[in-house]
Symmetry: C2
Subunit: 439 residues, 2 copies
């Protein structure tokens, strides 16, 4: 939880620095809001947790399964006061009654941010920029954000006369990394009643080629434009991807963190423009840890007003599971660097007063509550991971001095004057930090 | 939500600075954990929300109604790895199917912190100190923390031979501020089958006198010790209150924020030592916004090991409702001070690049996504509450300069060089802040 809180604080600060405002909606929603047309896939709807209390009506309330449907309800109701563009972030638990597995939980946290009421490429690019900034701020560097614009696929299918089969085609494409090109080709050719897309072999081949061939850096866009660019939707999609990359460069981001994949679909039918997914290098098996895209209309269920938008969701618990398995979660059991000992027999106000002075100087400090033998107190500090211990025994009390023990190196500075407490502790912490063993 | 997030961040930082570690448990618990003996009052148990999903067993799962029962379950399971003292904080939603009213919600956030595994007076005093520090860090200054030690009441009842009636006596005493001394006296005398304590008139009088007379500053403790101090529990309780006040002074806190009230019971039967409640001056009708106390045994339901502790809970949503009604929630609709305009016709990379530079310098900045007429963009900024707008039109683009408009005073500095962007914006924000109109 300590690294989790640190990551969440970094995410919140990142979202806020781009002007996203925090919006929190209840964990419980009306069932009809969650099950409305297009709110969630059949699979998600099957996993809904119903909520009832004594005197309540069964079937009326349920736990949210994502943060997007509650956002749609909220925005539909309040958009006139809010005005557009409206940028919000939300961090909270969502609930799905699915079988738990590695990186899959029945209750997990999502960190969502969305920009609503604009179709600007600035908002598209900013979404990728925020994913990048959030992960970087959390100390994660070895990741790749994959981009596509769904209009490229839509345009290609349209030009092949396959517009009506986009659903099964997109589902098949999303499995490319799992089942390989041959598997996708089979899925595309398989008849619809067997769960396939029912495509002729040559069409299946063209689509697989798109997905396999057009993956890589921005250089593939020229090639794609030449090969595919006769349909206006394809051209628009490729131009939009180009503009997004241009803005990401302007934002000072390293282009090698971004990849184009013209076969990327990101399942959900409602994405209509740019789509994103994010994997950590070497840990692709965990799936995407930050995904999203542009949608034409967020809240059609709740308002006749058309509300286009773009956003993404960072899967915090999946990310933490990944960092844990990668051994990148620093194990620590304390939030403060300093333990102030409670030496048996000394004036009990002394440790309280010294710790308060440290906190006032911005240095977190914990007072050991019980005046037990000092060795045990030091053992507690070492186990918890405190860096320093401030110790005042009877002699030190008489001389108004303290001893400063480094719990990592076991070195101890003795007889320091109380008047230099804050400075001594601050500089000892700084030395420890520079030596790389600090918190 | 913007001030709510600010207050939460202040609470988290405060809890952490005392060495409390964050622990988060799921919103959903097993029903048997929540309804176990002594887990909650009958009233709370009637308000439980049950949770079921397709294929799940009805009655198996429920939403937590507080953060204490989940803590008990967690600590009982993990105390051997954790070691004691164990200090944790938790911030999260809890759920009660009660009738919503002012300051009462069906879903509301609690901010809890507890120190487990010690009976030290240091932990008692620190609990009051943390309430004080958390509220102060959130910008709330006009509050009073009321203290009692339940042993004073227990000892008095014991010496009167009324130990077996402590439940109804404590419930009656807790109503003192609502129904007055006469009401409490009646409740104490009323027979048990009418919901009273069934006390003789002279005993009822003694108890009411205790509650009415012994309220005030630390000076009442001498008086109380003379009047009541013949029972060892009474003496222990008064001595503990004295020691707590002594430590609060050592921590540098103003004693006038703390009050003694020897009649304070804080209902819940499981408090056995110090108890706290906190009211905001002039807003007492909202009830206590931060309450807690010492308990002999946190997790008797889950482990034979005795785990004494002390802790408190800050009612965030009640506090926010109070601040809102008091007009003390600053209304703002943005998290950043700077809006970077998107002037029609200029190179679209320019606003992105300038905003990125500001963020890198620690200054939050939002790029307006659509190149609409500049007046509308400024209107958006004024409505949202941005302090400054950075504007680059075609002329400014040609000369690599920008205009800096103060959206509050409408003053505009023109033709500033891009190279001085960060410094110009930082100093304009500082001036605005000093003039008291800033964010």
């Amino acid at each position: 939880m300590i690294p989790r809180e640190r990551i969440l604080a970094a995410f919140r600060a990142t979202f806020a620095s781009f002007g996203f405002v925090p919006i929190e909606t209840p964990h419980i929603e009306r069932m009809e809001v969650l099950t409305g047309k297009g709110a969630g896939s059949d699979e998600v709807l099957r996993q809904i947790f119903e909520v009832t209390n004594k005197g309540g009506t069964p079937g009326e309330l349920a736990l949210r399964f994502d943060l997007t449907v509650p956002l749609a309800r909220f925005v539909a109701k309040h958009i006139d006061e809010l005005g557009t563009p409206f940028k919000r972030y939300a961090i909270g638990s969502v609930f799905r009654g699915e079988r738990p597995a590695k990186g899959r939980f029945r209750e997990f946290a999502q960190c969502d941010f969305d920009t609503i009421g604009t179709e600007s490429v600035h908002a598209d690019a900013e979404t990728a920029q925020v994913i990048h900034a959030a992960l970087t701020s959390a100390g994660i560097f070895d990741f790749a954000i994959t981009l596509n614009d769904r209009r490229v696929l839509t345009g290609l299918l349209d030009s092949l006369g396959l517009g009506s089969r986009s659903g099964p085609v997109l589902r098949a494409l999303d499995k490319l990394d799992k089942i390989g090109a041959d598997g996708v080709r089979e899925d595309l050719k398989k008849s619809a009643d067997l769960g396939g897309a029912g495509l002729p072999a040559d069409n299946a081949e063209q689509i697989v080629e798109l997905a396999v061939r057009f993956r890589g850096g921005d250089e593939i866009l020229d090639d794609a434009m030449k090969t595919l660019g006769t349909h206006s939707l394809v051209e628009t999609g490729i131009a939009n991807l180009r503009a997004v990359l241009e803005l990401l460069v302007a934002a000072g981001l390293p282009l090698n963190r971004f990849r184009i994949n013209l076969g990327l679909a990101r399942g959900l039918d409602y994405y209509t423009g740019i789509v994103f997914e994010t994997t950590v290098s070497g840990w692709e098996k965990f799936g995407s840890i930050a995904s999203g895209g542009r949608y034409d209309n967020l809240a059609s269920l709740f308002t006749p007003r058309r509300l286009p938008g773009v956003g993404a969701s960072i899967g915090l618990d999946r990310l933490l599971a990944l960092l844990d398995e990668a051994g990148k979660l620093k194990s620590t059991a304390t939030t403060v660097p300093v333990l102030v000992a409670n030496f048996p027999g000394i004036d009990r106000t002394i440790p309280v007063s010294l710790a308060s002075r440290l906190r006032a100087a911005g240095i977190g400090a914990e007072v050991f509550p019980d005046p037990i033998p000092i060795g045990k107190q030091m053992g507690y500090g070492s186990k918890r991971g405190h860096t320093l211990a401030v110790i005042v025994g009877p002699d030190e009390q008489a001389n108004q001095v303290f001893n400063l023990r480094n719990l990592m190196t076991r070195q101890e500075d003795k007889g320091l004057a109380w008047s230099v407490l804050e400075d001594s502790v601050a500089s000892a912490l700084e030395i420890q930090r520079l030596e790389g063993a600090g918190p």
